[in-house]
Structure formats: structure tokens, C-alpha cells
Amino acid sequence: MSDVYAVSAAPHIKQRISVSSVMWQVVLALTPALLAGIFFFGIQSLLLTLYAVVAAVCTEAIIQMLRKVPVTISDGSAVVTGMLIAFNINSASPWWLPVVGAVFAIAIGKQIFGGLGFNIFNPALLGRAFMVASWPTLMTAGWTATKPLSKIFESSINGLNVQLANMPEVITSATPLGVVKALRDTTQVSRDMAETVLNNLSSTDTIQNLFWGNVGGVIGEVSAAALLIGATYLACKHIIEWRIPISYIGTVFVLTYIFGGINGLFSASILLPFFHIFAGGLILGAFFMATDMVTSPVTKKGRIIFGIGCGILTVVIRLVGGYPEGVSYSILLMNIAVPLIDKYSLPRIFGEVKK
């Protein structure tokens, strides 16, 4: 008489969350930054993003079919990778650049390791590194400036028209971090002069423009404000957690304040750290790439170590390395260290007696 019912292990209720809901929420959180990219650089930004997304999704589907595993393109993870690839190029790039980058990111960055959850490196960052290594000029030079940009730089450097002609490599840099790099490296002007230009560059005006997005750069990094809207959403939904971004950005802040000046320790203005935070890819990297769950530590302590490590590497690359920007390389380098960090940062079990 009695029916037999299905059994399963506890718990029998489940939070309404899934891999695809997590990934699509990341897509949603990246949308404000994409809109900002379209606003500042034109419809070309949207097209490039679409190329990257389509390439990423197709690559994932084809490889999964070849591997004879379930095709999981609907989970949104390839869409996230595609968007991040496009966010790392400038809006004047040729159509094939994001396509090649996305194919590489999915094929070599993700599927070769076994797909989502098994990859060691953030796929999008690996794709970016590949593009930078293969087409360095396309990736770093000739970046499109937003229209008001030239004016900002003019006003920043205004009053110092002395010897400007002697610093062609400074004024031809299209991005703020490029300017900083050129200033640090220049031998054509005195260090004092460079310092003055640097301080003028990191004015509240510039920082405001960096924050809202009025500077040259790649599609997705242009507006810190738009990125922060998305990041806040993800933090509220507990999809990203504060430890990595805060320790990362905090480290960059402290280190650039101490070492950022050209004339020795603490020689920079207090505004320079803010400049370093809002210029370049730090906001995008700290909130959307370093926090990539697959490639960051699982332990709480480990996440702070990871963030600090990323911060140190970023500042080292920006201030003394060969590139103006170091966010993506520092995250990739720290990705390698994740298993080690996890191993040595296991939490103390509740009630564990101190030895």
C-alpha cells in the first residue's frame, strides 16, 4: 500500500543559485562599462565586443563537441571571457583582433585545461597577454582618445610649455599611464621638471576625468564609475568578495604613495595614488579579473595575500618595469601562485587549539 519516495542526502533545500546565474550576473555587471565604452568611443566598441563574444562562444561549443562533452555555452562563462577580451582592446582595433584573442582565450586559456573550473589562468587575461605579445603596436599604441582628452593634457601641462618640445615621447603617449611611464623614463628634461609635470598630471581634474571616463584607453577600462557600478552589484549579490579588490587596490595606493614620485620616497602628491588607481586597468582587473573565482584562492587569508601580491607586482611593473601598465601580468603571475597560497593559508578550524 505504501508508496516509495525518492531519497537523497541532506540538505533538501537549496539556495537559488547556479553556475549560469553567477556568470550571467557577471555579464550584467559588465554591461555599464560596455555602455560607457560605446558612449565614449562609439558604436565600434559594441561591434568589437560582439565579435569577441561570438568567437568565444563558438570556440567553446566547437571544442566541447570535439571533446565529446556536454556543450555548456548557455552558462555564460564564454560570454564573460569574450566581453573581457574586448574590454582590453581599443576601439580602433581591426575586427580580427578580438576574434583571435577570444579564440586563444577559450581554446588555450580554458578548454585545454578541461573547461570551466579547471583552468589555471584567467582565460581573458591569457588572451590579452597573447595579443600584446603578438601585436604589441596594435595593443598599446595608437589608442583612441576621447574628444576632450587633449584639452586635459594641455591644461595639465599648461604653464610648463618650457621644453615641451623636448619631450616628444611624453606628449605622444595617448594614455595617462603612458605619460607617467614616459615621464619616469625621460632623460630629456630635469627630474624636477618631470616631477612637476607628474604632479600636474595627477590633478583632481584628471582624476575626475579618469573616474568618469574622459580619457583615452581601451574599451572596458575607460570609466571607473561604470565598472564600480557593476562591481557594487556583484558585491551585493555575494558573487565577488571584498578581500581581493580591496587588498589589491589598497596595496597599489600605499606603494604608489611611497614610491610613485620621481624624486625619491614620498615625493609624489597625495593625488598620485588616486591617479594610479583610476588610470589603466586596475579597477577592471581588481574587481573583475583578480576576483575570477576559478583562478583565485579559496581561503579568506589567501585572498588577501593574493590581492597584496597583485598590488606589489602591478606597482613594480608600472614604476620600474618595461610596460606602462602591469595589471594583467601581475594577476597572471599571481594565478600561478594560487595553489601554493591556498595550501599555506588554511583557516583555523573553529575551536582549534593553538599549538
Binding site: A10, H12, P347
Partner: protein, 440 residues
Amino acid sequence: MGLKTFPGGIHPHDSKHFSKNKVIEEMPLPGKVIIPLSQHIGAPAKPVVKIGDEVLAGQMIAEAGGFVSIPMHASISGKVTRIGKFSHPTGTMSEAIEITGDGQDKWIKLADETNYMDLSAEELKSRIAAAGICGMGGAGFPTHVKLSPPADKPIDTIILNGVECEPYLTADYRIMLEQAEDIIAGLKILMKVVNAKKGIVGIEENKPDAIKHFKKLFKNEPNLKVVGCKLKYPQGAEKQLIFAATNRAVPNKGGLPMAVGVVVQNVGTAIAVYEAVRYKKPLVERVITVSGKIIKNPKNIKARVGTLYADLVEFCGGTTEEIGKVISGGPMMGFAIPTLETPMTKGSSGLVLFNKKEAHKDEEHTCLRCARCVDICPMNLVPSLIANNVRYEDFEMAEKYGVLDCIKCGSCSYVCPSHIKLIQWIDIGKLKISEKRAKK
């Protein structure tokens, strides 16, 4: 009022609205009861009756199988009709005694000693042991064993657990509102047995009227207090409640509450203790919540131990939809069982029925390393790592990562976006490790 809590934890919907305003109803005598010999942690009880014997309600039908064990008593009067394997609320088959009722409800002779507080601690404890009392919150640890700490572990505090953090369950809530005086009497007995100076009742903030009620009753009791706890699962887990109430952390690696001078008992257990001491009444009935969206009239029912779940469901008017899952206990830690022809035991705090949709199981995905499980683990473990080690049969590493410290609250499985059955893997790990130890 400063609410107390513990680190970690989750916020599932408490689903208590189905039954929380339902006054406890007494269930009519069932036609038969099935009394499992193992309703507790420890050795099973040994039958002292045989088929055909006539028994009275309250009569001992199985004696304790050792010190860490409890006796079982007939919960109705009638005839022993079967002794054998029956479905058990933990989802297994286990040895039990079936009694077919005579409908008379004839009881053994009970006492009524109003001066019971004059009894010695030893006498109080032996009455508790004789009544067959075990923890009524779920785990079912024999109460007299908990009350027998070694001499070098003095107990200063008794905590009564009225947190009831499992969704759906409201049995403890109802007894706190309806039988608070009995609970307090039980608390005082427990305090006397172990010579504890302080008594605490821990209640979660979603039961403000229960908190208020106890506060009022404790007005002139300087040694007793209510601790309001934050609404967070698993606030009612023993170690988490102790931390919230006393700020003491029970040592890991098998440490017991007595190591920090505390004994925790469920509020229902306190009533059983009171009745055992004053009336010499064995534990043969308890309050159980029968709830779920598909239960016609969800209820809090006072029913005899051994009553079949099928009878309880019928008493609630049956179901409105096809049953998808039968959960013995709450939905976080309870057991899904294959049949309603299963008896309730001394530890049965709830019976929750799900429809087909609620019983839906999601497919498992590979771990994203999102660390949501790490962030909420109330024991501060890394569940994903432990589960992985068990999956690849590296039990040594699983043990090193603290698999044995897991309290199996299920929070990690609850939050996992990959729908990984973390608790199932952890359970397998615990089992394998204890098997290995047994071999040695």
C-alpha cells in the same frame, strides 16, 4: 537587546509560517506503534518482552544496552505483535518492537512528588536514565551520559537549546510558549544534577514572543537568563550556540561541550527530564511539527513515540498534492525516507513533505572554486577541498583538512552554485575514516 551569534552561517527561508501559530494538538491514540531499539547514539536497547506479551503504556520493553544507551518503553497499552526490522526515520531498516494497541491507554503507576528538588543529584540522574531520555533535538545523545562529566571537568552552565534554526520546525517554539514552566523546572533539575550555577535559554530572534515570555519568567531568577540569538542557520548547532551564549569555543578534534564547562540540552528534553523526575514518567511522547506546502493542515502534534508518519499525515488531513519527498526532521539536516510507514522516535522534531517540484534535484557541475562554502562554513573549514579529497579517496588529506570536525549542518551544499553534494562527500569521508580506525 544585543543579539548573539557565531561566525559564518546562512540565511535560508525559515518557512515556519505554516505551523508557528498552531497550538499543540494531542494526537488520538494510534492503532499501533513501532518502537525502534535504536533511537539514540550508542548501543541499541535490548528487548525484555516477547511477541504476545501484554504491555502497559510506560512499561519498559527494552533495557539499556550499556552505559551509553537508553531503555525503551511502550508508548501505548496493548500487545507486542512483532519484533524485527522496520523502517527507521534515518532512512535505514532497524530492529524495532511493534505494539498493537488495545485502545485503553492503560498506564503504569506514575508518581507525583512535588518535593522532587530535595532529591540527591544521583537520584535525579538515575530517574532521568530510567526514563530513557535522549537529546530530543535530533542527534539523540543519552541525556544521563551528558550529565556525567568526569570529575576534572566541572560544569558551570546549562544551556537549553530553543533556537530551532531548522526551517519549517516549530515544535520547540510551541512548547516554549505553552510549557515554559515545565521547561524551567527541567532546567533547574539539570542544573542541580551537575551543580551548575547558571542556566541559559538560547532562542533565535524570529521567536520574539518566546524570548519575551522567558524574560518575564526569569525576572526573579538571577541565575537564569535568556540569550537572544541572531536569525542565522545553524545557530542551533551545539558548538555554535555555546559560542553565542558564552563566547566559549568547544575544542575541535572531538572536543565536547563539557570541556568548556557547558552542557547543552534541547528545551523538549528539559520537559522530559521534569516529567521523569516528578512523575517518574518515561519518555513516550513528544511534540512534532508536521509541515510543508502540501500538508493540508500543518500542525504541531503531541504524539506517542512510535506513531507512524502515515498516521501523523492523516491527522493533518492528508496532502493536497503528490508527495515528492518525505523528510524526517528539518530540510537542512533531516533524512529523506522512502516510506511513510516509518515511526517517529524520541528525536523526531519534524516531518516535512515536499511536492515533486520542491524535491527537484539539480545536476552537479564542476567546482568553480567560488569559495562560497568557505565563506559560510560555521566550523571554518574548506568544504570544497575536503570533498575533493574524499572524491579522490585521499582520506588522510581529508582528515588533515578537518573532515571529522564537520558538523554536517549542510550550509555548504546549500550555497553551492555547482550543486555539489558536499555533505554527502564529507559523510563518506567520515565513514571511511571511522571504518579504517575500527580495523586498526
